[in-house]
């Protein structure tokens, strides 16, 4: 247990080292926040209460999205690329020899990173957004805690997806294409581009049932106090359920991969 705590702390410190990258990320999140916010203003001007949100809730949704983009690793989480690189170069063989569980090791590192990203790239763009637009912040202080738990589960689900994607490199060797597809579908189905509540009919139902909604749509609804009481418990169950299924899938895939693995490199 201490081992994984140390890995997580290392993940936090590692990302805290790259100050330039952090500032660059804050800047980019803020720019994207403004672009999306203006398109939402145009949309909600025409159709107030679209998707059940009023204007300030829709704008809050945009900035929550920017805050969670790096945190949940929806956008180019470096861990997938690193793991793929280790599989491609054969370094993975060393990792498999270590007296630590491969999946838990990477998960710990991802949580360390997520904590840092939420503090650095979550807080600043949100603060800038709240200066420029009127946002709907939670009325009940407990909502903040509920939101954090939902974000933590979202990070877990997205990690589990990323782990599956990265392991595909055992078969494909070139992971770049798969990573890009996973990344773009993650952006779409998490609700980063448009809230999933705005998606029509069956597409909306399917999108809301897919695991990616755990990374943004669900935490955002918790923040906006759309999910309280029993609905909140249901949200947690949804996220935890997907996390369990996908993490178990990752373990199975890892077992299959390591049984047939031929180490690259030399």
């Amino acid at each position: 247990m201490w081992l994984y705590a140390a890995v997580a702390a290392g993940g936090f410190r590692r990302h805290a080292t790259y100050r330039m990258a952090t500032v660059a990320g804050m800047f980019t999140n803020t720019v994207f926040g403004f672009i999306l916010a203006y398109t939402y203003v145009a949309l909600w001007d025409e159709r107030p209460h679209l998707g059940g949100y009023d204007m300030s809730e829709a704008l809050t949704y945009v900035w929550i999205g920017q805050a969670l983009l790096a945190t949940t690793g929806l956008m180019g989480s470096s861990f997938e690329e690193e793991l793929i690189e280790r599989i491609k170069t054969g370094d993975i063989a060393v990792d498999l020899y270590r007296p630590a569980d491969l999946q838990l090791w990477w998960l710990a590192a991802v949580y360390g990173r997520a904590a840092f990203q939420l503090l650095a790239r979550g807080v600043v763009p949100m603060a800038v957004g709240s200066l420029a637009f009127e946002l709907a912040l939670p009325r009940n202080p407990l909502t903040w805690a509920a939101f954090l738990l939902s974000v933590a589960l979202g990070v877990l689900v997205n990690f589990a997806i990323g782990y599956l994607v990265a392991l595909s490199a055992f078969w494909l060797l070139d992971g770049a294409g798969v990573v890009q597809v996973a990344w773009l579908s993650g952006l779409f189905f998490s609700g980063m581009l448009l809230p999933l509540t705005v998606f029509p009919g069956t597409l909306g139902e399917v999108a809301r049932a897919l695991p990616w909604s755990s990374a943004l749509q669900v935490p955002a609804d918790v923040f906006l106090e759309r999910r309280t009481g029993a609905r909140l418990a249901e949200a947690y169950a949804f996220q935890a359920g997907w996390a369990l299924v996908l993490l178990a899938g990752g373990r199975v895939l890892q077992a299959v991969a390591t049984r047939r693995v031929v180490v690259q490199g030399g």
């Binding site: 660059a24 949309l43 159709r47 770049a176 773009l184």
Partner: protein
């Protein structure tokens, strides 16, 4: 220049051959690239499922904006997109290898891991562009017809200049790659929507500071028979090739200055 193009062609051809070794894998990534880069257009379709106009622009007009900027961005991304990996080379010192080879560094960096799958984005942009042209109700004149292909090509040059300048910036700010994304991916997203959606300062910024508005806003609004953004005169629609050529100069100078300032990690 000829040296650079030759080196670029050789390296790119090598990567294409390497990609083609795994034909099935390539076909799959090309197809999925085509589909997934279109997801942001699906968002526009979903928006128009709820509204009839966005910022006073019809669906066909927004699709036209989307098609032009996406094709331009796709062209720049295919030919120069790999320069965004320069920061990594600076960090791990592998840029040194490129410096000692007898070929221009920019050509080597741009052709490195040349990704033919990016044809997917160009194709997707073109499909939307052609669709929008079929839907648009425009009184076509010869200048307007010529402006469409000119717009797509000059837009690619504009995006390419920003990418090269951004890569040079990474030599100083080794891990600042994300700032560049704000201008490339961010610019592409911005230009997919009409300027009337955005605040005046933002529009003036992309007209007068980072002239990305010349990728499509300025010429496209002329084609659509609307007033140019940020108080530009109507004839400014024909300035985009000049603006693109002019932007290449600071990008090239910035690139040279960046290379001169390069300090190897020494590891």
């Amino acid at each position: 220049m000829a040296d650079g193009l030759r080196a670029y062609a050789l390296i790119a051809a090598m990567w294409v051959r390497s990609t083609m070794t795994y034909r099935f894998s390539f076909a799959m990534t090309l197809l999925s690239n085509f589909v997934t880069t279109g997801l942001d257009f699906v968002v526009i379709l979903l928006m128009f499922g709820h509204v009839r106009g966005l910022g006073g622009f019809s669906f066909a007009e927004v699709a036209f904006l989307y098609g032009t900027t996406s094709t331009s961005f796709g062209l720049a991304d295919l030919l120069l997109g790999q320069v965004s990996r320069l920061g990594r080379r600076v960090r791990d010192g592998t840029l040194d290898t490129l410096l000692v080879r007898p070929a221009p560094v920019l050509a080597q960096v741009a052709a490195d891991r040349f990704a033919l799958r990016r044809l997917g984005r160009i194709t997707q942009g073109l499909v939307v562009l052609v669709w929008s042209l079929a839907l648009l109700d425009v009184a076509w004149t010869l200048p307007k017809v010529l402006l469409v292909p000119v717009m797509v090509v000059t837009g690619g040059v504009l995006f390419g200049s920003v990418m090269v300048a951004g890569a040079a910036f990474q030599i100083w700010a080794q891990d600042g790659a994300e700032v560049v994304n704000a201008f490339t991916y961010g610019g592409n997203t911005l230009l997919q929507y009409p300027p009337s959606v955005f605040a005046g300062e933002l529009v003036r910024g992309v007209v007068y500071v980072v002239p990305l508005a010349f990728v499509n806003w300025v010429p496209a609004l002329y084609v659509l028979g609307r007033a140019a953004p940020a108080g530009l005169p109507a004839w400014s629609a024909f300035l985009s090739p000049l603006v693109a050529a002019a932007l290449c100069v600071p990008a090239a100078l910035f690139w040279r200055a960046g290379l001169r300032a390069y300090r190897s990690t020494g590891s």
